[in-house]
Amino acid sequence: MVGTRRLFAGQLSPGDWRARVSKPGNDASDPNLPRDKLDFDTAWPFAGNIHAVVSVRSYGRLANEATIIPNPQRINFPELPYVPVVKCFCSSPTGQIIYWCYQGTNTTIGTVTWEAYKDHVDFFTSGSVRIDCYMVVVVFKIPARDLAILGNDPHPLPRMMMGKRGSDYGLYVSRPGFNVQTCAKSQMIFSSDDTFSVVNKTYAPASSRKGAADSPTANVTTNINFTYDWKGYYPIIFFFGTFNGAQNDQIYTLPADKVVNTYGAAYPMSALIVSTSPGVGQVQIRRWGNEVWGNASIIVLDHPLPTD
């Protein structure tokens, strides 16, 4: 009896070199196998994970003082052959707090938006960054826009190898047009000795809830508690959610650093994520109305935030 092939390493289809592990009963060498039938695939965009976490330090200013941070603030990272997916936010000097459009006395961060290039991000805010913080850019090793498409793979360039490459041992797959034995790490689809951002914890309650603010000017927060495994540092945490007037018809606004209004544009919600103690987190959302249903989702990555 021949079992189903659940490990595959090689040319899956012309020009497409991969290593894969399939779920039980599924043939890993089937090029038409959907993603949910696989446990691992070197072609997955998240497989390469974080390319860099870069930041610029901003220092606190009073409301009547000009910000010393330009808008936009340019933040550089090591060049890639493509424009990567990025995620931008601000975090406290200890790494304990991640800010999402935070508005308080003398401590303002406007809505964060960005423009990304292959070697830098222009970090915009809708207002001044007056808070004592790091402006953080997480650069994922995921192409958002390819700048080096070289056409068909110029065979016979070797594009996959397992074993010793230089002084490293591992599994490597290069991008089309690059020799896996000699190319730079940035020219690879996958290298097993990259820094992989393992997921520490996810939090996604199945039930909806309402906010705690009973008027536009009620200066109260709605708090969402969660825990994560403490690894000796305050980690990168992503928060996103849905908010709307109906329990089962909530519109999800992405990313979490965008302003959401439950009491109109004059009273925008704002929020932060705080680690109240090691391994214990809380999302604090200000001005979430008590007639507005919402859902939260949280992802904790095993990757430290910058600190002083």
Binding site: T113, A116, A144, S192, A204
Partner: protein
């Protein structure tokens, strides 16, 4: 005798790709002694792609499933010849809880977008 640094095959009932750090035997190393383990927890990538040039207004992008939690959706708009823009700079992204699609609300006629969607239910 050299240290074994790579293992591919069946281990503890799972098929794996594993590589160890220098000085660690891949077959006996603790988790922190591995440089890579294909069974590590990570978000499952569900779908990724590039749109055609989109008109202004809403365009729905289909997803392969609905979600108990919420998917993590990254969307970038092509900008100029060498850059991308994030949400809030010419477009917004919405997902309606329980739906099997997300929506790009585009304000720039003819803009192209790339997207990557990850499941909050881990592998």
């Amino acid at each position: 005798m050299p240290t074994t640094r790579g293992y591919i095959g069946l281990r503890n009932g799972q098929f794996v790709f594993q590589f160890s750090k220098p000085g660690n035997d891949v077959l006996t190393a603790p988790p922190e002694g591995l440089v890579f383990d294909s069974t590590s927890k990570r978000l499952r990538p569900l779908v990724s792609g590039i749109t055609a040039a989109l008109p202004t207004g809403n365009t729905n992008i289909p997803l392969p499933k609905t979600f108990i939690g919420l998917p993590l959706i990254f969307v970038e708009m092509f900008y100029g010849t060498q850059a991308t823009r994030g949400p809030g700079r010419g477009f917004e992204v919405t997902y309606r809880r329980g739906g099997n699609f997300f929506t790009i609300n585009n304000n720039v006629a003819g803009a192209t977008f790339s997207y990557s969607v990850f499941d909050n239910e881990m592998t």
